[in-house]
Structure formats: C-alpha cells, structure tokens
C-alpha cells in the first residue's frame, strides 16, 4: 500500500538530493520515522532539542492539510500523495507534538518563547 511522499527543496541538503520517496507507512508518525530511518542526517533538523517535530513543518495528503483529516490518526490510503512543506505557516497541534516526542526527550515544552526574539533587528 505505497504512498508517494514529496520532499521540499529545503530537505535536499540532508537527503542527498532525493525529492520523492515511496513509503509503506500507515500513518504520519510512522512516515516520519521512516523518513528519519531513510535519511538519518535529516533527523536532527526535523526535530527540535526536545525531540519533537518542528512546528513549521506541514504535511498535506493529496490536497488537504493532514490536520483536517485527523492528523496522526489518519490512515494513509493506497495511492495517497503526501506533500511536506516547511514554513508556510506556524502550526503544529499539541497532540502531534506529544505523539512525536521521543522517549528519550527531555521534558519541557519547546514553547515559542525559547526562540530568539523574532521581530527585532539584532
């Protein structure tokens, strides 16, 4: 039951230029793990210090934002096309973050407040 996964240009530095993969993952958490297994050097870029998938990475299934389809509960269908797009928008549901937290992750929210001030020129 393969699904086609299209990776963004921003990933290519970490995927040896691979833009597209076939996956047999049945849901989003599995797909992310599979991407990380296939491209180990992508892993530290895909997750933040606490092991959670970075908030600016968006997943779309066919034409729809996966968050409208049930997020990590959505079961991939044969022939689905999954599109990974970073930085279109700033969203990652709390459920998704929790679900993707690695067992070894340090506790503590990766809240926005920990990042550098976004709107002040340094």
């Amino acid at each position: 039951m393969p699904v086609k996964v299209l990776l963004p240009n921003a990933f290519q530095k970490h995927t040896n230029g691979t833009r597209e993969i076939q996956s047999t993952a049945s849901n989003l958490p599995q797909l992310i793990e599979e991407i990380e297994t296939t491209f180990p050097s992508l892993r530290p870029h895909l997750r933040d210090e606490s092991g959670q998938v970075r908030r600016f990475i968006n997943f779309y299934v066919n034409d729809e934002d996966i968050r409208f389809l049930g997020n990590e509960n959505y079961a991939f269908q044969d022939g689905d096309e999954v599109l990974v797009i970073p930085s279109i928008a700033g969203g990652c549901s709390p459920q998704l973050q929790t679900h993707f937290a690695l067992p070894a992750a340090q506790p503590g929210a990766p809240g926005l407040s920990t990042g550098p001030e976004p709107d002040v020129a340094q």
Binding site: L6, P8, N9, A10, F11, K13, H45, L46, D48, R54, R55, F56, I57, N58, Y60, D63, D65, R67, F68, L83, I85, P86, S87, I88, A89, G90, G91, C92, S93, P94, G111, L112, S113, G115, P116, P118, D119, V120, A121, Q122
Partner: protein, 424 residues
C-alpha cells in the same frame, strides 16, 4: 543609500546572505530580514526622512533594497486622519485612521510590500514574478510588475471578487484561478516556486516582501509628530502586518527617533476565519488551521504564515485579538463610510467593527491614542454591500416631484424617530 541587511532564521538564528530564500535549511523555520541598525543610524534621521520623497521610500535606509535602488512606484505615505465622528459613535476620544484605502498604485497596503519584493526580484535577476493572493496582493503585483516590465503569474482562489480579478487582468498579468481556498493556492505556489525560477513575492521573496509593511509603522510615528500611539488595531490575514508595525516602532526607538513607550497591539479577524484571534484568546502558542468561511476574503487565510508571531506580538504587547461576524463587518464598512467618508473593503469593515468592540468591552480606554489601520479600498468589494440599499424610484425632472420626494423622506424619518422613542 540603503544600509546593510541580510537574512536570519526566526527560530534558530542562522544567518544567510541575501538570496531568494524563505526557509532555514537547518530547522525549516521562516527567515526574516535583519537590517544593521548601527549602519543605518547616520542616514535614518528625522531630517533626512523629512527631506525624502512623499512615499514609503523616505524610509529607504531601513528597507532591504540594494544601495543603488531607484524606486519606480510612489507607494505609501498615506493619510493619518483624526476620526472624531467615528470616535463619538463608538465611545472613543482620540482615534486616528491610517488610511491605506488610498495607497498607490492599487489602493491597498499591499503596494508597500510589493514595492520592496519587486525591487529584490529585479536585484536577483528574475524575469518572471508571481504570488498567491486573496486579491489585493494580486492587484499590486500585477500593476507594479507591469511598470517594471516583468512577466507575471498570479494564482488566486477561483471564487475571488470579480473586481479583484479584473484589477489584476487589466495589467496584463497571467491569472490562474485555482479551484480551492487561499491555503490551497499558497501551497501550490510553494511547489511552483521550487520548480520554476520565478520570484514569488510571498514565497521565496517573502522575507523582503514582509519588510515593506514596516513603512506603515514608520509613517504612523512620523505623522503623529514622531511619537508612538497607545494602541494600534490591525486586520490580520497572514499576520505579518501587525508584527512588522511593531518591528518598525522598535527600530525607531532603537535609533532614538521616538521615545520608548508601551504600545498595545490589537488584531482583527472575521469570525469565519479567525485562527490567530482564536490562538490569542485561548493562549495557545500554535495556530490551529481553519477552513475559511467569511465574506472578508482578503483575510481568509486559514493557515497564516506569520500567525504564531502575530499572536506572540499581541500577547507580549498586552493587547488582544477579536473577531466579528460578516454582518458586523458590513456594519463596520457602512459606519466608517458614514462617519469619516472612507469607503473600505471587507477587511477594513472587520477592523472597524473590532475597534468598536474593543472600546465597548473596555479593552481600549476612551482617551488613549488609538490608530485603526484601514488596509484596503471598498471599491474592490462592492458585492459585500449588495442589497444594502433600496433602489429609489426615479422622479420626473420637475420641482414639484423633488419637493414631494423630500416630504416623503422627512415623513419616513419622523416615523423612524417616533418608532425609536416607543422602543425606548
């Protein structure tokens, strides 16, 4: 002469040289422009600005454009108007309107961001530019690209207001209507920008584009006599404008052009598409995307690119976000037109209605100096007012008919007044 500037990741802080790039390759977060304020200190003075052109380019020293850039469009420098009659209606005493309904050349604040984006498109050598748009951006890109001799592809949701479609096509732009909402269009543009060597103003040129919004903040401060207001009310679609007005104020404070003081930022959305106001109200540090369902199409972005930053800017400033129904936003359009003679589009109706709500709820106090940002022109969304006015029967060209018409009108007014007093 423009100062030095570059790109920086908004999350991990990684620096990048200037390039058509909007995503950090380390953490996949958005990039933004940072200007070297120290380098700008010499050129960015009140005197130098006053001697500059009557357009947003008077602030060129803090805009990310090449040193030798010669502006081709006089965007910006729109009126900041006292609004006493609207103020009286909504219980305010010190209200101003920043009126970008008359921003040139295409009557919305998007002319500012496009001016900066296309300056960079040319610097990067793009011959074709494009954008995803809810309408105003489409108009602005089409017009300014025509003036700069660039080829243009513009992608819009298929159900966009006819006036905004016509106001794009008239400039010779290739318009692509997409069967979907803005978020679908925006996602498609992200893919196109990766495939084609085009400058997409709100995709790969986004960091530069967004800086253009700072000029709204620079102008508000200068037009208030180089001081900051107490409050700013800003309509929110992608959320960049409110963030950049705040950035502008901080830059002015850093350069000593205005005295530092707390400014509270208030965001306005339509309830039918309110992902940012929802985040502010619930205290969330993330944005839950929504499927837009509002006539305020220029604000109908369900997955706003700067949503988290807008929500954070509002919260940090001690402000608030509010959203209003489509019925309320239409009332907002009418109220602004009837009291101040400014005809705004649906987004301005949202901002006006939200401002009224903020005063009514006591979130903004009567005497505080408050600036309401009107970002677009009502002539583009006249369909929002379809059915708002009865078509009067024509009279014959005779004085007697005119007098009868006046008499009938005063009788109606009396009847309304009597009805009103009974109701009380």
């Amino acid at each position: 002469m423009a100062t030095s500037y570059g790109l920086q990741c908004r999350e991990c802080g990684k620096r990048y040289d200037n390039a058509p790039l909007s995503i950090c390759d380390e953490c996949f977060s958005p990039l933004e422009v940072v200007c070297d304020l120290e380098a700008a200190r010499r050129n960015f003075t009140r005197e130098a600005i006053a001697a500059g052109p009557s357009s947003m380019w008077r602030y060129q020293a803090l805009l990310p454009v090449p040193d030798d850039y010669k502006p081709v469009t006089p965007a910006g420098w729109t009126p900041l108007l006292p609004a006493p009659r609207l103020a009286e209606r909504i219980g305010a005493a010190n209200l101003y309107i920043k009126n970008d309904a008359v921003c040139l050349p295409t009557l919305s604040f998007k002319d500012r961001v496009v001016a900066v984006a296309l300056a960079n498109a040319q610097a990067f050598g793009f011959e074709t530019v494009g954008c995803s748009s809810t309408g105003n951006l489409a108009n602005a890109v089409a017009a300014q690209a025509a003036r700069q001799g660039l080829k243009t592809y513009i992608l819009v949701p298929a159900d966009l207001e006819p006036a905004k479609i016509l106001n794009t096509q008239v400039y010779g732009a290739r318009l692509v209507r997409v069967d979907g909402n803005y978020d679908h269009v925006n996602r498609l543009c992200s893919q196109i920008a990766e495939r084609y060597n085009w400058g997409f103003v709100n995709v790969n040129l986004r960091p530069y584009y967004a800086e253009g919004s700072k000029t709204v903040g620079f102008e508000i401060a200068e037009q208030l006599g180089w001081r900051l207001p107490d409050n700013v009310v800003v309509p929110m679609a992608g959320g960049a404008l409110i963030v950049k007005i705040r950035k502008a104020f901080k830059e002015l404070v850093a350069l000593g052009l205005v005295e530092d003081k707390p400014v509270r930022f208030f965001g306005a959305q339509a309830t039918g598409c309110s992902p940012i106001s929802t985040a502010v109200k619930t205290g969330a540090d993330h944005i839950e995307p929504q499927r837009p369902a509002t006539i305020a199409r220029s604000l109908a972005i369900g997955n706003p690119a700067d949503g988290v930053y807008a929500a954070r800017a509002i919260r940090e400033s001690g402000g608030w976000a509010e959203d209003v129904s489509d019925v309320e936003l239409v009332s907002g359009i009418l109220e602004l037109a009837e009291t101040e003679g400014i005809f705004t589009e649906t987004a301005g109706g949202v901002a006006t209605a939200v401002t009224a709500r903020l005063y009514a709820d006591g979130r903004i106090h009567r005497d505080e100096l408050t600036v309401l940002c009107i970002t677009g022109n009502g002539l583009k969304t006249t369909d929002a007012l379809a059915g708002a006015y009865e078509q009067q029967a024509a009279i014959r060209p005779r004085l007697a008919d005119f007098e009868a018409f006046i008499e009938e009108g005063s009788q109606k007014e009396e009847a309304l007044a009597v009805g009103g007093s009974h109701a009380r």
